[in-house]
């Protein structure tokens, strides 16, 4: 359960890749050599790593339309592991190289294959693979932070801190823990008091200071709406509970309970954080891939746990809700060099009409740049971005009383300069994308009652609970054009 080597490679556009950090674990290499015998392939020097990695990831020669080594259709890129061909096709290969790409960074590691090398063992039979994946995920969070795109000097300082991080979490190639996410160091931590109580490895000390427990429930709703008989509209909801527990004690016990309204549909696919100490079997029974038999358990969902010091995701779930919060229709009609646009949005009556924001983005691809725009909205304002061929309909904090809003008019494409392109949206295939956030609402009805949070600790903590609904990939497709998905698709 070890990795042989670890790399952080950057590839800026138009430049060849560069090794920003690397670490080799020679004792693991020593074992790899002995395990693989004559099939042993040594880890190549750092100077050749970027080119090998970029070739496998299809990132070399961007100006050439076909390069066999890069584009061969029989080389399947559908695994978290790639093989590096050290001497070109047919030569020695280094496998399995796990990779994670984020922005210009490529993180890669080579897990130890504790198996006879021939025939090549299946990835799931190798213990080191999931450990390597966990290490890379942790590394990704550490380097990129929550925003995902660190400034170059921030990145440089995080890279410089990597050796000391690895000293803790992976000193000899065997991952012991994941690197702490960037900027997650808790404020007031005192060393463990010692005594008979054993300190968990995932908690560096104990919290000192005011006791506060915050539980934030976020639900995200996704939707694809087509307004067609041949094509069913789809939507789904997934939620997550983020916790931050500033509570004294080595292993304080906390119980968070999620409740659903009467006859709410059960939470499905519940995944919990490893700090949850026990789980009731009934919590896990509902599964989105399964047929629902109404009799499923529908709460309350109790999660007893002993919290780590940092912010963590206590649990996540998916839920099936009967209606999408906003039902839309989008109609485009092409006439000579202009398009007639009609968008209608209806807010479902069960949804609270109080948004933090609600915008509809209506882009036009594969057209010349916009000329005149004669579009009216029944509510909110319209912003036109001519250089992006984009209409932004700002609905603001509220739908009108009727809970329905309309956008209607004509858009001329008189310019001669080509606007933005998108291979998906050709002809009348077009979409409107909604962005909204509703505080203090969940679609599933799920909530965390402040009084249901139980903390077994000497000091009585302040308990803060919040919930919100946020849109994510919420598309309304033009019903007069083709849809880019197969008609049988029932899920996102």
């Amino acid at each position: 359960m070890s990795v042989r080597a670890l790399w952080v490679v950057s590839h800026e556009k138009g430049e060849s890749g560069k090794v920003r950090f690397s670490r080799r674990f020679p004792t693991v290499e020593f074992r790899a050599k002995s395990l693989a015998g004559t099939q042993y392939v040594a880890v190549p020097e750092d100077r050749v790593i970027p080119q090998l990695l970029l070739t496998e990831l299809g990132l070399v020669d961007p100006d050439k339309s076909y390069v066999e080594a890069r584009d061969d259709c029989a080389r399947q890129h559908r695994s978290p592991a790639v093989e590096l061909r050290l001497d070109g096709p047919g030569g020695r290969t280094l496998w399995p190289v796990l990779t994670v790409t984020q922005g210009v960074l490529i993180l890669a590691c080579l897990p130890l294959v504790e198996a006879p090398p021939v025939p090549r063992p299946p990835l799931p039979s190798l213990a080191s693979v999931s450990q390597g994946l966990a290490l890379l995920s942790g590394l990704q969070d550490f380097l990129c932070g929550p925003g995902g795109k660190p400034e170059s000097d921030v990145l440089a300082s995080r890279l410089a801190a990597l050796p000391s991080v690895l000293l803790q979490v992976c000193p000899l190639g065997r991952p012991l823990d994941t690197p702490p996410p960037a900027g997650s160091v808790p404020a007031s931590v005192a060393p463990s008091p010692g005594g008979a109580q054993k300190q968990p490895a995932w908690k560096a000390g104990v919290h000192r200071g005011r006791a506060v427990v915050s539980v934030a429930l976020t639900e995200k709703v996704r939707s694809m709406q087509y307004s067609k008989n041949s094509q069913q509209d789809i939507w789904d909801v997934y939620g997550m509970v983020m916790c931050k527990c500033e509570v004294e004690g080595v292993l304080p016990n906390v119980i968070v309970t999620l409740t659903l309204p009467h006859n709410g549909s059960p939470l499905q696919d519940i995944l919990v954080h490893p700090c949850v100490t026990s789980l009731d079997a009934s919590l896990l029974t509902a599964c989105s891939v399964d047929e629902n038999d109404g009799s499923a358990f529908s709460g309350p969902y109790k999660f007893p746990f002993s919290p780590p010091l940092e912010l963590f995701r206590l649990c996540s779930y998916t839920s099936q809700v009967p209606v999408p919060p906003i039902l839309g229709s989008y109609k485009l009609k092409a006439e000579e060099n202009h398009l007639k646009v009609n968008v209608v949005l209806k807010l479902h009556e069960s949804v609270k009409n109080s948004f933090e924001y609600c915008d509809a983005h209506i882009p036009f691809f594969n057209q010349n740049l916009m000329g005149s725009v004669e579009v009216k909205v029944s509510s909110g304002q319209l912003e036109v971005s001519k250089e992006k061929n984009l209409l932004v309909w700002v609905l603001g904090q509220k739908f009108p009383k009727s809970r329905e809003a309309t956008l209607e008019g004509t858009v001329h494409f008189s310019g001669t300069v080509a606007g933005p392109t998108d291979p998906l949206c050709s002809g009348l295939t077009a979409y409107a994308k909604l962005h909204f956030r509703v505080p203090d609402l969940t679609l599933s009805g799920c909530c965390v009652d402040q009084h249901s949070v139980q903390v077994y600790s000497s000091a009585k903590p302040r308990i803060v609970t919040t919930r919100e609904l946020v849109s994510s990939e919420y598309y309304i497709w033009n019903s007069t054009g083709d849809t880019p998905v197969s008609s049988g698709l029932m899920v996102l």
Partner: protein
């Protein structure tokens, strides 16, 4: 060199490419430099950590032998003890480096004293549970010590097998965050001890109990398992202890380890679970139900490594721990997880891999290949349908999985499912149609490949795909290489040309039907590529191709433009047509075409080749023609091959025009021994030897005014075949040897041409002339281009040639008949100058060694003969001078003192001293040596 900057550069250069870095220095001297800096009190911790990182990451490069490893580890240990208490991070790094050096240089395996001491030392360190003695600040050192011990146990399984009681006690006592470290150390020791016990016959209760109560030394001899300790899921027969042993104590230990597993980080928890699963699998007295209490928590986990460990448990215990219901449940969870919006892409891909290798309780086959668990139905997998919104890896992975699902599904359901998949493929192709990016094109062709691999047998489907592809090709001829690649790969992987032939027929038809306007020069090159591939298929009639080519040539200005590339591409099609089995049906048309080209094409080369093809076609029977054109490696066909296939762009031709690559060594350079006579320098003019009291040094130095004087070293090699080469290479001709230097210390070496090398003849000799800028040892990368008897050209690497330090030695560059006196004078003058520090880089040094009288004489004779200035055998005194081009000198005065031989060294370039030292050490290796730097 106490400034950080040069070190930073050095270290990053080393890390980027140790081999290139060490080409400019010896690893011995670099290692010495590193260790020296580590002892430097003024160097910062940060720099020292960087330096230690080199030893930590590349111990085998810096310590090439076990003995160097041991010495280095000792040095590091002394660095460790001299490092101030507060430098915790540095200390930890040094500990890791020592451990790596000891393990990787086999000091541990060979049970050296150093390894033994180090183990004791580490074990001593971990005794300080709860930081009672050293305080909290030392906790990282203790954590590192635990990890070092764990790594040593992993690499030498059983090492801790007699210390389990002590380890258990430590684990019980430890309550800080390090509890996990002690726990893992103990568990690993326990598992390995049991594993070793399984190799023993007739294990008694007492022996079994004694492992838990062991409190003795390290078990050096127990390492009979060696390093190849595979996890049990990889073994055909799981090693097991005999049944009936009393497991009460072990059981309670296991329970307490499991109970406390929540104290571990998720990664460590999954490792712990795996170790415990292995223990239970090996001990029949332990029941897998031990894990029952953990299962629910594991089923619900969001952590992929814990999920993975659960699958390992499932694989090991199958229905003795997991009911059919559990299995169903686990699989459903896995499918759900594989598309969970909150998981990362790589984690979801991994989950899908796990579905395709799901450890079923009752597997139908266990080939290790991808197979669909029986329980995964179309209904269950519906949520994994690929969509155009997926990233490419996810989309391909889902497509592959769904293809398997629908392949296995019941008929009615399958039809529906497959048509969904086809719709998806069509949606992808539509994106390409709308000018999708290169990435989209590549991904879509990969998707096509997956789809066709599963459903090529379904006629209607595959024809639909072909229609769409042809339609796309007519709009986007740039897809030609992708389409040809697809046809080739499908044919290869299915071992059946039917689908590919259909596609190619479609493409041919599509090109025929194109309006002439679309046959622009640019598109034409794509079409010719396709037609060339089409012409290779015996089942496809070629009449239309020929008509089209003729038509284009007649009705366009191509012939007048005489573009060589276009002509060549047309001829490439013709060449494949010549080989076509039904050529007799289109004989006249092809002849017309070739003749037309040979008359009208405005490029001589193209004309001639067309005429040649025409002659072949009209004069030879098809059997002969294909015989001539046939490719293959049967030698002795040189003439036919080179005549028939001189054009590029076709495998046959390509094999003649392109240079083939072979990854094996075909030739090698072997040093010619005893070349002393060759070493004499070509002196441009004779020096006058009559003049008296001349300043010989000035005369000597004057020679260097002539440019190029004494700047070359000539090395002689014989060029022979490497071992075990193919008979194809028995006779090779017109060899061109090309040299690349691995460093920048030498001028570029000119190519060397050799007429031929035959295996059964005396190997030819080649002289390699080296021009050093810096006379350091080096390595030459040699490659050769040559021709085999069948007329093909080859490129092959030769084994690297290393040039040692002593190979660059030249005698004092004075004419052969120079008197001894002048040589002595020159020697003495250079010595004096060097001793007084002129030039700046001069240095003197001393090297001592012990040896007997006779062996000294032998030594002088073997190594210094050509370089002796004075040879006062009777006085036991010698002067030796090595000249190293371009202008360096190394002077030796060898005297026999009472108890040792002293070699005084003077040089005008102190950077050579490490090389001189290692050279002397090398040649005096059989004697005991002591070195003193002057």
């Amino acid at each position: 060199m106490t400034f950080a900057d040069p070190w930073d550069q050095k270290i990053s250069a080393f890390l980027l490419s140790p081999s290139q870095f060490l080409a400019t220095t010896t690893c011995e001297s670099f290692l010495a430099e590193l260790l020296h800096e580590l002892r430097n009190d003024k160097a910062s911790d940060q720099l020292k950590i960087l330096i230690v990182s080199l030893l930590l990451e590349h111990p085998t490069i810096l310590c090439p032998s076990s003995s160097v490893g041991e010495e280095t580890a000792l040095e590091l240990l002394s660095v460790f003890s001299h490092t101030p208490q507060k430098s915790i991070i540095l200390k930890c790094n040094v500990m890791l480096a020592i451990t790596n050096v000891i393990i990787c240089t086999s000091c541990l395996a060979n049970h050296t004293k150093m390894a033994e001491d180090w183990l004791d030392f580490l074990f001593q360190m971990i005794q300080d549970t709860n930081d009672y003695r050293c305080g909290l600040s030392h906790q990282p050192i203790r954590a590192t010590a635990c990890e070092c011990l764990r790594e040593m146990e992993t690499c030498s399984p059983g090492l801790l097998s007699q210390k389990l009681e002590a380890l258990h006690l430590l684990k019980q006592q430890e309550t800080t965050v390090l509890h996990q470290s002690y726990c893992m150390l103990y568990t690993l020791g326990l598992k390995n001890a049991i594993r070793i016990l399984t190799t023993q016959k007739n294990v008694t209760d007492l022996e079994f109990k004694s492992i838990l109560g062991g409190n003795e030394g390290f078990a050096w001899k127990s390492n009979q398992l060696g390093l190849t300790l595979l996890p049990i899921n990889m073994m055909v027969h799981v090693p097991r202890l005999p049944p009936g042993l009393d497991c009460k104590e072990l059981k309670s230990i296991m329970s307490s380890l499991l109970e406390e597993s929540y104290l571990h980080t998720p990664i460590s928890q999954s490792a712990l679970l795996r170790e415990l699963v292995e223990v239970v699998a090996m001990v029949p007295g332990l029941s897998p139900t031990l894990f029952k209490s953990q299962l629910l928590r594991l089923f619900g986990t969001a952590d992929v490594s814990l999920m993975h460990a659960t699958l390992f448990m499932k694989d090991t215990f199958t229905d003795s721990l997991f009911t059919a219901e559990d299995e169903n449940f686990l699989l459903k969870r896995l499918v759900g997880t594989a598309q969970h919006p909150l998981l990362r892409i790589s984690e979801k891909l991994f989950c899908m891999e796990c579905i395709l290798h799901f450890p079923e309780n009752r597997p139908i086959s266990s080939s290790g290949e991808e197979s669909l668990p029986v329980l995964v139905t179309p209904r269950l997998a519906a949520s994994l349908h690929p969509t155009v919104f997926n990233d490419s890896a996810t989309m391909l992975c889902r497509l592959n999985l769904l293809c398997l699902v629908h392949l296995e599904a019941d008929e009615g359901e399958a039809d529906k499912g497959i048509s969904y998949l086809l719709e998806h493929i069509m949606a992808l192709l539509k994106i390409i149609d709308n000018d999708g990016s290169r990435e989209v094109v590549v991904t879509s062709f990969r998707a096509l490949f997956i789809f066709l691999m599963h459903f090529n047998g379904m006629k209607e489907l595959s024809e639909k795909v072909i229609d769409k592809l042809c339609d796309m090709y007519s709009k986007h001829s740039r897809l030609a290489p992708n389409l040809i690649g697809l046809a080739n790969r499908i044919e290869e992987h299915l071992n059946d040309p039917v689908w590919s032939v259909k596609l190619l027929i479609g493409l041919q038809k599509c090109i025929m039907e194109m309006p002439p306007l679309q046959l622009t020069i640019h598109n034409l090159s794509w079409h010719l590529k396709v037609l060339k591939r089409v012409a290779k298929e015996g089942q496809i009639t070629q009449r239309n191709t020929i008509y089209l080519l003729l038509n284009i040539l007649i009705n366009s200005n191509l012939c007048e433009r005489g573009n060589w590339q276009v002509g060549n591409a047309v001829l490439a099609v013709c060449r494949n047509l010549l080989e076509h089995p039904s050529i007799d049906q289109v004989f006249i048309e092809l002849a017309d075409l070739l003749q037309y080209i040979s008359v009208h094409y405005d490029d001589t080369d193209i004309k001639e080749h067309a005429r040649f093809y025409y002659t072949l076609l009209t004069n030879l029977s098809w059997e002969k023609l294909t015989g001539i054109l046939a490719k293959g490696l049967d030698g002795g066909r040189a003439k036919e091959r080179s005549h028939s296939a001189i054009m590029a762009e076709n495998e046959g031709i390509a094999s003649n025009l392109t240079v083939h690559k072979t990854n094996r060594h075909v030739l090698q350079l072997i040093k010619v021994q005893g070349e002393a006579s060759q070493r004499s320098l070509e002196s441009s003019e004779m020096l006058e030897t009559t003049g008296e009291a001349k300043n010989w040094l000035e005369v000597y130095q004057g020679q260097f005014q002539t440019s190029g004087f004494g700047s070359e070293v000539t090395l002689r090699y014989s060029l022979t075949h490497a071992k075990d080469t193919d008979h194809l290479f028995d006779k090779v001709f017109t060899i061109c040897l090309h040299f690349e230097m691995k460093d920048s210390n030498y001028a570029k070496v000119n190519d060397i041409h050799v007429p031929c090398v035959f295996r059964d003849r005396k190997p030819p000799e080649v002289q390699v002339k080296l021009k050093p800028f810096q006379p350091y040892p080096t390595t030459l990368c040699v490659s050769a281009i040559f021709t085999t008897q069948d007329g093909r050209s080859w490129h092959s690497r030769l084994p690297d040639v290393s040039v040692s330090f002593s190979e660059i030695f030249l005698p004092l560059p004075l004419p052969p008949n120079t008197s001894c006196e002048c040589k002595v004078q020159v020697f003495d003058r250079i010595w004096e100058a060097a001793a007084s520090g002129n030039p700046d880089k001069s240095a003197i040094s001393l090297f001592c060694f012990k040896t007997g009288d006779e062996s000294l004489t032998d030594l002088i004779k073997t190594h210094f003969q050509g370089y002796l200035i004075t040879d006062q055998q009777s006085k036991r005194f010698w002067k030796v001078l090595f000249f190293l081009p371009p202008t360096c000198h190394v002077l030796l005065k060898i005297t026999q003192a009472e108890d040792a031989i002293q070699v005084s060294i003077a040089t005008d370039n102190w950077e050579l001293l490490p090389f001189v030292n290692s050279y002397l050490q090398n040649i005096t290796d059989h004697c005991s040596t002591t070195v003193t730097d002057g």
